[in-house]
Amino acid sequence: MAPTTDMAAAAAAAIVPNDFSRVLAQRERRFAAALLAPAFLALLATTTFPLMFLVWTSAFRMDLAMPFANGFVGFENYQALLTDERFWSSLLLSLVYTASTVVLQVVIGLALALLVMDMKRGQGWFRLIAILPVVLSPAVVGMIWRTFMLAPEFGIVDFLAINAGIGSKNWLGDPLLAMVSVIAIHTWQWTPFAFMVLLASLAALPEDIYEAARLDRATAWQRFRRITLPLLRPAIVMVIIMRTMVALTAFAAIFTVTAGGPGTATEILNLYAYRKSFTELSIGYGSALAVALLIVTVIISGVLFALRRAK
């Protein structure tokens, strides 16, 4: 009997401090929860709830122009969406807009970063000037381009075009040129971001491996292809992911420059959802469009993240 009681006592002694630490941990967890709660609730109220509400709304017919027909319709909005030609064309425009702006940002940003890396002086100034477009509001950028840059005859771009012998163009009135213009505007504003990220990664690459590559008789192009590009890959993929998610949901710049026009020439999915909801006042269907955009964004981001992890 005696040994058993001894063992029990020992076990009890072992449990006591354990229990105590558990109490402490529990207390700490409660305190942490209390500290987190306000931020958590605010996030819930401003992001999760509106999102849920959006999904809920998309299951209704909610037409402010014809309120008598309002009511729950289930998936009807989504069925309509699948046969809506304007949806498919806006989705296509979204994809074209995203792909071309992201590719341009990465290519131009990388080229600029490589050039600036070789600058012996004035790197700081260049960075400072380059970052300026990023800090502007997209709406302001849109206004600047519509008035100063692209206005017929007086805009800088049109002025240059006239002097270059191309002649005055209706930059925002021609469907194709309008699309090119909004792509150029987005690229202009956000290339500095890619440039800064890639420049930082370039600066972090060790110098000695380039010297080793020179002695190994690699040409400048081979050094770029075989060393710089693979080592920059994580940064490039990160830039692509971040810029893709933003480009898919771009709004303000296009809205202020063309508002989706002429016609629907620059009406990317985001703008179509806006127009449907707030111009045509068809809130239910607009919500369905927004949910569709959300799904597209999630799928594309998922694919990109999977690609990132692949290697």
Partner: protein, 350 residues
């Protein structure tokens, strides 16, 4: 491989702004030689190697390789292989890809690259690590990978920039011996930068000793050790370095601590000199310079004594079987041929 890898530096000057990193360097390296550039940090030895490699351009002067002036030839076109102190392995490539890289750049056909890579890896004993990335290797393995990358291409010059300095002491000794064997078996000219005189002494056929941007002495390690031609080299070569003591010289004799020592010098007259005495050349005698043993550093097979000779500190290295005790009064002397004399003003050997 004779006639390949001959190097000549002619009046090479390198300025960094106002600072002269190299103040007119001249030397020659013979084909097949293991040549060491030895000197303390900041003495210009690494700058010399970088100029030889073509990574930096000299401010003035000419570099010749195999008789051709290559001063303005890019590093790419000099046919030189180099092992960097940091190893400079390509971090995103496997060991095999790292070793294959110089061959691919030389447009060697794929079928020949594979065997060449395995062969080079086997020579430095890393053929079992070919699939690893540099980040998964130990320091010693990375170093071997860098070596393999340098030897895989049969370059005419093989440069090594402090290749052993990042290894631990035991591995450094092992690799040192292997490096020498490797160089011998390849028969290639090697230029080796180091601040470690022991490495230079053991590895090099000849060496150049750098001090403050200038070459102070060129010669075989034995020559430099036996006849250092300046006070700086005398104080740099040898472990522990030479004792350097001011003394009075009169017609072939010198006086230290009130004692007269004979030298082999033939100079007549009387003058001030700096006397150089190697710790290992000093022996304990019955009648010599008197002193008291301050401190004993026991090295196992020998011991280093710090001796106080009426105010002058002298270090002596003695055999393990006749080590005195701390505080003992002893007398030391050196043979005339072991006494080096230097001019205190020009700091050159007399």
């Amino acid at each position: 491989m004779s006639g390949r890898g001959e190097v000549r530096f002619e009046d090479i000057i390198k300025m960094h702004g106002e600072f002269a990193a190299l103040k007119g360097v001249n030397f020659e390296i013979k084909p097949g030689e293991f040549f060491a550039l030895l000197g303390p940090s900041g003495s210009g030895k690494s700058t010399t190697l970088r100029i030889l490699a073509g990574l930096d351009a000299p401010t003035a002067g000419h570099v010749y390789i195999d008789g051709k002036d290559v001063t303005s030839v890019d590093a790419r076109d000099r046919d030189i292989a180099m092992v960097f102190q940091s190893y400079a392995l390509y971090p995103h490539m496997t060991v095999a890809d790292n070793i294959a890289f110089p061959l691919e750049m030389a447009n060697m056909p794929r079928a020949k690259i594979g065997p060449a890579v395995v062969d080079a890896a086997r020579k430095v004993k890393i053929d079992h690590l070919l699939d690893r990335k540099p980040g998964q290797l130990s320091g010693g393995q990375q170093q071997r990978c860098a070596l393999a990358r340098a030897i895989v291409r049969k370059a005419r010059l093989f440069l090594l920039d402090e290749p052993l300095s990042n290894l631990d002491a035991k591995l450094r000794l092992e690799t040192r011996a292997e490096l020498k064997k490797l160089q011998r078996s390849l028969g290639v000219t090697a230029v080796y930068v180091t601040h470690d005189q022991e490495e230079a002494m053991t590895l090099a056929d000849r060496m150049a000793v750098f001090m403050a941007g200038e070459i102070q002495q060129v010669g075989t390690p034995a020559e430099v050790f036996a006849k250092p031609n300046s006070i700086e080299i005398a104080g740099f070569i040898g472990n522990p370095p030479m004792n350097l003591l001011p003394a009075r010289y009169i017609n072939g004799d010198i006086t230290i601590g009130g004692r007269w020592l004979k030298t082999t010098a033939q100079l007549a007259g009387e003058r001030d000199v700096i006397v150089g005495l190697r710790p290992s050349a000093l022996r304990i005698v019955a009648d010599g310079i008197n002193g008291k043993v301050d401190l004993i550093e026991d090295l196992g097979d020998s011991a280093i004594l710090d001796i106080d000779c009426s105010g002058t500190q002298i270090r002596a290295r003695v055999n393990h079987d006749n080590v005195p005790r701390e505080g003992d009064a002893i007398a030391i002397a050196a043979r005339p041929q072991d006494i080096h004399l230097f001019d205190p003003t020009t700091r050159k050997r007399l």
